[in-house]
Subunit: 475 residues, 4 copies
């Protein structure tokens, strides 16, 4: 078992390791800031007591940004220490906090993760000191709260990987590649060097692991030195479809990550193709704002038969500067983040593919810049639908009032941002781009039949686009 | 109410402030390291929501040195948030931890302070959300654990100051001096600008406060904006004397602090005088290793009629250097911390007064240095008895094996450290130096009669010297 | 006049400002490290005495990496202070140093920039304190040393911008755009807000300036508050062509920079097109290693009629990590810098366009990675010729022995790096890609006739590719 | 030869080492701030090429506080590199700068130390590259400028130690003690491990060296691996006495340093004794403000027959705090730097010995504090005369207007600072306290006769007290 890596966090990071023998001997290192600030050679050396550990990086959502909220959480229980890393946000946290406090448990943080550790510790009466049925406790927890959580729970030499019944947050398992394998010898499972778990499969390559499989919605997986074993799959209420966050595909995940059997890059390219079908435009070239929308732009260009051309290049250093633009620069509306490749589009009609427009204040100066540098027309095509609603399941979205789609300017958006036209991808277009290949695979592959029955009806959380939340929200 | 200051901690520091109105609105800032590293203008500004707060600085004793153990602890309970700062170490912590965990409370740190907060939170059943009798909870806590703790507990607009029934750790109250007072106007209590609480009274002067009184052993004091009110005094078991840590007088406290009505400096000078009576020596001058033993040295010199002379001066910078002495310097046995004032003692017989000898490896190179610089004889007199036993009540003492008094070298100590003679103060001599003026005052002052009955029989904890602990230790 | 910006340096940075009145009142701030480490709000505030200043960022070449070598250099001369920023490396520095020292001048650094400042200061006899003919001194300097240098020399309220007669290092002038201009009003030179000078025109956009023109080889330009004035153009020896560094096009410059009237991006795309003509290949798709070779890859793909596809995505964080790969990861040959978009090329024949292969150890693991992820064939096409010779004119190139083109492995390079084939662009192909549009413009535009005569015969320095240096090297 | 240590600097620090063979191979490390910030294990390792080096720490006097002014200065001359460390300030710097610039030398800093290095480099004509008479150059420098400077000049494997003819700044030589010596074996010079040079002898002990002798006024000493050799003694103008800075005794030097054959501590005690003769007072006890005036206070107390008692203790942490006192604390006039030992002086008449009163704003709140804590009377005795004049020889003294002795308040000083009386030591009293033992030794010791003739007439610089400067000042 190795530390489960993930995208490097902006707010806090932590690692807890276990020696795999004593239920008391955890090593903990946590801190605020980027991973490379939190960890150094000394702290990693201190942590290295075995190959067993869990880690966490955090972009704050609920839970004030403080060290106390920093994960993984460790608590000592009657049956030894457990460490918990949590991705997501509980939809019934307020009720659960009150319940615990009513039993006399003081809560030292505002984080859902402490709540989860105390819920796991708290199952009175606990007369017998010597045994603890952690699976029963985990199932008990899952009965108390439907979503959203992907969890790693470490106790002694076991890590439990858990995904909520709706599968709202991602979680997948990787296998460390034995050195022999890479030299052309057979990949024999018995030679496995260990297992890793991560939110995103993209993290496996850089540590010499390969994608093994996803943890299924509701699944409790027990991971030990050599085994990956499904202990149970907690079902959703009858009729509820699964609800994996569709914005992982659109925006959050790295393009080389795999969810539900498909590469994020491929989904994004399909979104671009779909957008070309939904919103074609008479133009000379297709381009993008570097660089997250490149797959959609290549998909759009290919579907339209227009050339893909670069119109901007990144100004690498500007993002890190502390120097605030002065009044003059603001008046000039200078786009400091980009250089302009004007020779590539002078006198041409340009289609810019963007992945999303949240507030509208990023794309507007870029359009101005392109026009001043000679673009004849600038058309904007957005490879996702407009965001209109808040997320209560772990994603930090601007307030409803800040979202461009809820503002009066949205009714005349092209004019507001200075474009010749602007069209978003439809919700249906996005959902079909995401689900198309999942359904195709489900229908064609017999081998998936069993799994299909376990996963139940496939759906995706589009709450931020449609306001339809997968579960009722409690306050 | 102001932040209770104390000597600046080496390991961690924290402040929690309350707006005095909401039971939820605490501001917390904690961190590892020196106060000046933990706090800056920004963090202090963030904390400044009112004049109400508690702070803590920590020298680790039990509890691994980690940010999680950093005080004050804050927990949310059914009746709002409380913040707790704790000085001391519970003698029955292990049993209390087990008790809480058996009720399903997970403990996230190894610190006694979290234990205390959870014990205050935990008093099931807690059916009624609206009221909480904090005094009953504090008394309940004091019944669970006899010593050692001085506590500050903040809830809404109240701070409870509590000292354990044995009074093992210090705690005293100061009064902020109104600006008018300093200009010769009357000190009218009604004009009081507020109250401060601290382990050591020495901290009052630098914030414009004056010593008001000690919190008595077992006393629960309620401190609000204008009032200091005794809520209760929890008694010790029949016959047990109080047990204030005698090492506060000998070593820890700053010389201008006041405990039990006497200035620490005066006690130390009396120890020097007593030492002159117990262990006189034929010599030419009395001196000391700068600078904690100066009061004892001046007391010894005066009692003996010998001149007090400086033989060493401090090398101000050496302590902070990262440069390790190389082999050559080690072989030369160079005392890097001091400069030598050889003209002051060349050809003379020198008595050096030290406040304690813990391991013996500090005094030895100094004696060598004095001899090489011309001292004819070097006699060591130690103004406290040898430490022989561990402390389980909050003081970090080397292991029994490391203590010089438990090692074979102790039998021929003068030879081992290279002195012409070495004599320690007796335990009786120390105790009488400490208690002499307390008893005198108790006998003479009628006004103290009432208080005397409340305080009970006066004693001091000399466990590290004698092995006689004030309460039975539990494991 | 504003600070001349440039690409942010890795080794040191400095700014000197002048109040424009006193010849003594320079403000200087310099430091090691990235610009954002060297400068903060305070240091910038301190520097802001007027709108006049010069700055410098440094990637060490000759001159040990020390703060003393950090530019701009300031010296006080009989005629006041001058500040000098220098880009390049003098080919006769050793002889010039000796000459100065023979006159009794002590040199405090190993940098060419100090040499230049002392050469400017030193023109004995200097009987008259009151006047100094700086142009005569600059011409004197240019007669002493033929190349390579682009210089900014600040004295009182004037900045002299100088390029060596061979034009080896770039230097161009930008005009600050008045706020009115951006709102559609006429661009009237009389409204100019000031001038900026930079090595690369790409820096102008982000400070609200626009490209005005290049400083010509040998030109001495005097820049004052409102004027840009050519003082002189120092000619090259009869018959010598100009020698602008061709590697600025290939590698160093940002793609949106303009040299000799053409955008770097366009040159790179032409190199890709030329490469497609010189070295076509039967394949399914064209791609690149992100992201500097993208223009060449798009040019190659377009010329060949093959689709341009992304095969790798960047792993954003890996470059900054301090964590060294352990033995296991090294054995696995994991390419930590990239994620693999395997769905995009599985079973396909891939052409990878790279901009240069210096040592061969970067491309090799990428090829391995692509093959393991399913590429059927991997062909490498390099959009520049092999580097074989050291640069003595300011560019840090590996030693001759380290260069792959000088090693035995080069004879069987495809096999060495694991590719199916590998072909470099020819020197002739590179030179024609660079010069094609310059010549076209020179022939077509009458308006350039005068300038052409001033610039003389157009050439480029290809010394690192061919060993033919533009001037004889002195030691 | 080891690095010459000294008191740790507040502004900048630097070390230059030589491998002792090549005249080019210096290693340099310099930086702003405290020694422990400037140097770490890495930088020291880098410097360690041999046992030969010079270092410098700086408290800025003239010369703006910038890294460029940081010493030692290194310049390359026709005859190799030299490194120079300088203590002092040249009284004719302005004229010398002009002279150099007139010869075409550009000066890159405002520091006297660069001036000295360029003066050493500049002795045209320098036709012959192969030889350099450094002694002639040093004598030439000493003829150009009379004072004040103590210099270390390193070239190849030699360090020249130079003191100006007036001996204004200190410089002394120490001998590294062979390990054998400390174990009782004979101190044979042939076994000497090397030599060290320092401003203050106090630095020798902590590096395992012992005081050897002072560099005499005007002396040029050549120090090599095994030898210390006087090359010449440059005389003062006929009749001029030497002029060692008397404030080194009064204030700057550490008490265990030795100048002119006497320990600073002894001089300070004699000043206290002399003060008791000049200004006795009816009182109960003598004390001091910790801790620089302690020797004077002990001398005063002994001479008067009054007991020496501590009235204040240091508040260790306050000096380092960033927290500014607020209005309230300022109004209260709280002395944050000290704790008050009121039991020691309540109801008593106190004499406070201070070493100097510069502005009067330090002693005033202390007197107030003592009175409020119960002192019956507070008399101030100052163990040095009032400072009235600026120093132009290297010491940073407040402007004439800031000095209390030049202000109207001085006429009623006791009242202004709130004391019952205040008396300063006379200039004659100070001079005789300093010179008494020097003269005694000169008269008694025949062995000193030769040296006496070399040193000439003994005097001390009292310019800051009397306005009589040892040389005429040039501007």
């Amino acid at each position: 078992m190795r530390l489960p890596p993930g995208p490097q966090g902006q707010e806090s990071a932590g690692i807890v390791t276990s020696d795999g023998e004593s239920s008391q001997a955890f090593k903990v290192h946590k801190g605020m800031g980027l991973i490379n600030h939190v960890f150094n050679a000394d702290s990693l050396k201190k942590l290295y007591v075995s190959n067993l550990g869990i880690g966490h990086t955090r972009y704050s959502t609920s839970g004030i940004s403080e060290l106390q909220n920093c994960q993984p959480f460790v608590v000592e229980t009657l049956h030894g220490k457990i460490a918990v890393a949590h991705n997501g946000e509980l939809t019934n946290a307020v009720r659960l906090r009150r319940k615990l406090m009513r039993h006399g448990v003081g809560l030292s943080t505002s984080s859902d993760s402490e709540l989860i550790t105390q819920l796991l510790a708290f199952t009175p009466p606990l007369e017998n000191d010597d045994t603890a049925d952690w699976v029963a406790r985990i199932k008990n927890l899952m009965n108390e709260t439907p979503t959203s959580y992907s969890l790693l729970i470490m106790h002694k030499d076991i890590i439990y990987a858990v995904r909520d019944p709706y599968g709202n947050r991602p979680l997948c398992i990787g296998r460390l590649i034995p050195v022999g394998d890479m030299n052309g010898k057979g990949k024999d499972n018995s030679e496995t060097e260990g297992w890793v778990v991560s939110s995103e499969s993209c993290s496996f390559l850089s540590i010499g692991a390969e994608y093994y499989r996803e943890v299924l919605p509701g699944e409790i997986v027990k991971i030990s030195r050599y085994d990956v074993q499904t202990l149970d799959v907690v079902p959703r209420p009858e009729g509820d479809p699964s609800a994996f966050c569709i914005f992982e595909y659109v925006y959050f995940a790295r393009p080389d990550s795999i969810f539900e059997g498909q590469m994020v890059y491929s989904v994004r390219r399909r979104c671009g193709q779909q957008l070309a079908i939904e919103a074609p435009v008479e133009a000379d070239l297709v381009s993008t704002v570097p660089e997250s929308a490149t797959p959609a732009a290549l998909g759009y260009a290919q579907k339209c038969g227009l050339p893909y051309v670069e119109v901007l290049c990144k100004n690498r250093y500007v993002g890190r500067t502390f120097i605030q633009p002065n009044m003059r620069l603001r008046q000039l509306g200078v786009a400091k983040k980009f250089g302009v490749l004007s020779d590539n589009f002078k006198g041409k009609r340009v289609v810019i593919i963007d992945d999303s427009i949240v507030r509208g204040n990023t794309i507007s100066p870029i359009i101005k810049l392109l026009r001043e540098s000679g673009a004849k027309e600038v058309h904007i095509r957005v490879a996702s639908p407009p965001i209109r609603f808040p997320c209560y399941m772990g994603i930090n979205i601007p307030t409803k009032e800040e979202l461009i789609a809820n503002r009066p300017e949205f009714h005349d958006l092209a004019n507001y941002i200075g474009a010749d036209s602007v069209v978003y991808l439809s919700v249906e277009g996005l959902v079909s781009s995401v689900q198309e290949s999942i359904r195709a695979r489900q229908e064609n592959e017999n081998s998936l039949k069993t799994q299909k029955s376990r996963v139940g009806k496939i759906g995706h959380c589009t709450a931020c686009l449609t306001g339809e939340y997968p579960v009722e929200l409690e306050w």
